[in-house]
């Protein structure tokens, strides 16, 4: 195996990186891929609770890097989907406990083990962010249709360009179709025009995301969730499939379920 290492980053906090990593991890593993999700937010770990694996942590990423355990011992198996693992962040350390070269070494070791390594970057553009992108083959920038989130995304894209990481792909999260229609929310087209990078996914605002977080069951496990569907689509695009973008106008009514059965999105 030779894993692809994908990092999700955003600059701004609270835009949905952790939700995206958990959902993409579940979705890729459901496609039969072997996936490791890494929480890169040392000191502020959260991917464990979003994935619902918080009670099973023994070792964390800093333990691996500092040699207190083997890599395999820090990989928590998600029992819901075969082939999905989590490497949690250390909670009692800070970002300086890891370096970009530690992440490169860890990435190289994981490449041989799995198909995908998904890294959840912390907010900001400092050490934790630098660690998270060090080993990445591909970077996804996630933003919301909010003026501050778009500005921060642009800053991150600029840094990635300056570091010659290549052009990242964009995920627009929490789009409220009605507000966009009323002209009270930036549309995906507006954001693409401003940021000028390629789009890999648009995720509608969806109450089921909070419910999923409450329960520790990533939203892509919920077949009825539109956000879940959007993340499953992104996972398929990552594997190289050409999946059309969801029609955000669509509501979850009877006729839509029927059209879904008939092969819609």
């Amino acid at each position: 195996m030779s894993a692809k290492i994908v990092t999700i980053t955003s600059g701004k906090g609270g835009v949905g990186k952790t939700t995206a990593i958990a959902s993409l991890g579940i979705a890729l593993a459901s496609l039969g891929q072997k996936v490791v999700c890494i929480d890169g937010d040392i000191g502020l770990r959260n991917l464990d609770v979003i994935m619902g694996l918080e009670n099973r942590i023994v070792y964390d990423i800093v333990d691996v890097v500092e040699g207190r355990c083997r890599l395999r011992q820090a990989m928590i198996r998600d029992k819901r989907v075969p082939g999905l693992f989590l490497i949690p962040a250390a909670q009692t350390r800070d970002k300086n406990a890891l370096s970009p070269s530690d992440m490169m070494r860890l990435g190289d070791e994981l490449r041989a083990e799995v198909d995908w390594v998904l890294i959840d970057s912390p907010a900001g553009i400092e050490r934790g962010f630098k660690n998270s992108i060090a080993a990445a083959d591909r970077i996804l920038v996630l933003t919301n249709p909010e003026i501050s989130a778009v500005r921060d995304a642009d800053r991150v894209i600029g840094i990635l360009e300056a570091e010659e990481k290549g052009s990242p792909d964009l995920i627009v999260n929490r789009v409220n179709y009605e507000m966009v229609q009323k002209g009270e929310m930036l549309s995906t087209e507006d954001i693409l025009d401003l940021l000028a990078i390629d789009l890999i996914g648009v995720v509608p605002e969806d109450k089921s995301v909070l419910v999923a977080a409450n329960q520790g069951t990533p939203v892509s496990l919920n077949k009825d969730s539109r956000a879940g569907q959007a993340f499953r689509n992104i996972a398929m695009r990552l594997t190289g499939e050409n999946v059309p973008f969801m029609d955000l106008e669509e509501k979850g009514g009877f006729w839509n379920k029927l059209s879904k059965l008939a092969g819609g999105n």
């Binding site: 003026i147 778009v150 500005r151 642009d154 800053r155 894209i157 600029g158 360009e161 052009s167 966009v180 009323k182 002209g183 009270e184 929310m185 930036l186 549309s187 507006d190 025009d193 401003l194 940021l195 000028a196 990078i197």
Partner: protein
């Protein structure tokens, strides 16, 4: 927002304001050039060019244009029509 503005849609929608504000902010974030610096650059350019060519300082326009992720310094400097010299 007044009732009439609401009904007749004269009020600029907030998404449009957000986009326009972002266009300006991102240009400055990306280039690190402040409007004041741009103004100073314009004054100096006018001074240098005026030494060689007759231009109308009022009509000079210097701006940063966006093209995808690239920024471009665009100067529009109309030249004054030179009076024809008789032969």
């Amino acid at each position: 927002m007044s009732f009439f503005k609401k009904v007749f849609g004269n009020e600029k929608k907030s998404a449009q304001s957000a986009k326009e504000r972002l266009q300006l902010v991102l240009t400055h974030d990306r280039t690190d050039i402040t409007p004041a610096q741009l103004e100073a650059l314009k004054d100096e350019l006018i001074e240098v060019i005026s030494r060689h060519i007759s231009i109308n300082p009022e009509a000079v326009n210097i701006d940063i244009a966006r093209e995808g992720r690239e920024q471009r310094l665009v100067a529009d400097i109309p030249i004054k029509v030179a009076p024809r010299r008789g032969r």
